[in-house]
């Protein structure tokens, strides 16, 4: 557990786990230190960008918070429960169901059952606005990305790659394997907040 300088204006807090990163993220959002512009959780980190802050003072504040989130243990899960669980209905008719079945040695029905039977949590966002990396994919469904990414994947596509699942928030190129599609809009610039799946949100897919 370390706090690292990321330039003159940001600190990268190593939390050691995703859960602790989410707890720190929630604490910082609930009681935002002065001048903090961005709070960006990662897999085992939280990046805190604060160009106008006294970095030494911010670092000591973060060190105190870090101690509390890493001591908290797994029982306290205020971020996940506070957000509730988001249910995403899916039509499982994706173009890559057969290739995923072939790669995993499962039937298509088993692929769907495993995906819909898991509870996910949003780890972090990246790649595109509203693109949430969902953690919790059954290890039997861990498959590599496509060798050649598609030039355009429609919004609402439900996909997997490596240890992650995701819902494509907008039309974009993409190399993840498509299992199905949903009508749920996970990204809407007119909504507040614009992303339906911020870090720490629990997610379940409904077939």
């Amino acid at each position: 557990m370390t706090i690292r300088r990321a330039g003159e204006h940001a600190l990268l807090v190593e939390t050691g786990s995703l859960e602790a990163a989410h707890r720190l993220d929630a604490l910082l959002r609930a009681d935002r230190p002065e001048h903090v512009e961005e709070i960006v959780p990662g897999q085992e980190t939280v990046l805190v960008v604060a160009p106008d802050a006294d970095q030494e003072r911010l670092e000591s504040r973060l060190a105190g918070l870090l101690a509390s989130v890493t001591d908290a243990g797994p029982a306290r899960d205020e971020t996940g429960t506070a957000a509730g669980i988001v249910e995403i209905p899916v039509v499982y008719d994706g173009d890559d169901l057969d290739s995923v079945a072939a790669l995993t040695g499962l039937t298509v029905a088993e692929v769907i059952a495993l995906h819909a039977g898991s509870e996910f949590v949003v780890g972090w966002l990246g790649f595109a606005p509203g693109f949430a990396y969902l953690i919790g994919l059954d290890p039997r469904l861990h498959v590599p990305r496509l060798d050649a990414p598609r030039t355009s994947v429609p919004p609402g596509s439900v996909a997997i790659a490596g240890p992650y699942s995701a819902v494509y928030p907008s039309a974009s190129p993409g190399g993840w394997r498509l299992l199905g599609r949903t009508d749920v809009r996970v990204w809407d610039v007119a909504a507040d907040p614009p992303a339906k799946l911020p870090p720490g949100t629990r997610v379940r897919f409904l077939p």
Partner: protein, 288 residues
């Protein structure tokens, strides 16, 4: 309104971007050389945050549907305002129907055009900036694009005749704070980064500036668990060729960041052209 007669090689609307959404995967965006946009806005009495036009390698022609006060800053270009030669870094009057022609910059890369009242395209998440990575904001300017003027908020009196900017060096020293992942690299790599120079490759855009020079060898393999990326981060992919992140950089990434360019020096990097060179220098007094 302003009609784009020619956008030049690449032109976009930019203000100071949309900070505060990085955790939702939204790049900051905004002017790549923010101090130049701020200066252009001040020259025409706008709030510094007003939206202007960011030209890349000049070459643009803009026709003004109404009388307008404008100012150009950043990479210095020959400028012709309604057939009168004029200059950079000064308020310039364009009569209704007049055309502003901007030539090729003699140094630097990005030129900013501010218009009194600001560019009035519809904001997205609080900003009018084109985000070239995510597609948020207005599309890049094309011949025939019509931009509304207005919406910048209250204007101040135009009080300054001219300002001084530059020069835009093609071989600047650039201060860098090592970390957060300098320990992923060999001591030789860290020394090589500081020994420089690094040359700007042809792959440059608003996302980042790819550099050529001594490859930065890693002390360990694998990828970093995905973590937040910051403006000015010098990210090093497995090929060892560093990339300096500019305004449209991705919000998270898995390649280690060997150092972060000092905020006041990042505009210098945003003004470099392919073939230019830079020298990384430590920031005095910053613990890493």
């Amino acid at each position: 309104m302003i009609e784009i007669v020619s956008p030049g090689p690449y032109a976009t609307v930019q203000d100071l971007g949309r900070p505060g959404y990085a955790h939702l995967g939204v790049p900051r965006s905004g002017a790549a050389d923010a101090p130049s946009l701020r200066l252009a806005n001040r020259l025409v009495g706008n709030p510094e945050s007003a939206a202007g036009i960011e030209l890349t390698f000049g070459g643009a022609a803009l026709r003004f549907g109404d009388n307008a006060w404008i100012a150009l800053t950043g990479a210095p270009c020959p400028v012709d305002a309604d057939r009168r030669p004029t200059g950079m870094c000064a308020p310039v009057w364009i009569p209704q129907g007049g055309t502003l022609r901007v030539g090729t910059p003699r140094e630097g890369l990005r030129t900013y055009v501010a218009v009194r009242g600001g560019i009035g395209v519809e904001p997205v998440l609080g900003s009018r900036s084109t985000d070239s990575l995510s597609g948020l904001g207005p599309p890049p300017l094309r011949t025939g694009t019509v931009l509304p003027v207005g919406g910048a908020g209250p204007s101040a009196a135009i009080r300054v005749d001219s300002a001084v900017q530059g020069p835009f060096s093609s071989c600047p020293p650039v201060r860098i704070v090592l970390g957060p992942r300098a320990d992923w690299f060999t001591p030789d790599a860290v020394a090589a980064l500081r020994a420089g120079p690094y040359e700007v490759a042809t792959e440059i855009n608003r996302v980042g500036v790819r550099l050529r020079g001594a490859a930065l060898e890693r002390a360990r393999g694998g990828e970093i668990p995905s973590e937040g990326m910051t403006l000015g981060a010098v990210q090093v992919p497995p090929d060892g060729r560093p990339i300096v992140f500019l305004a449209d950089h991705p919000t998270t990434g898995g390649y280690p960041v060997i150092g972060v360019v000092a905020a006041r020096d990042l505009p210098l990097v945003a003004q470099l052209r392919p073939g230019d060179r830079l020298w990384f220098r430590p920031v005095p007094g910053v613990r890493t």
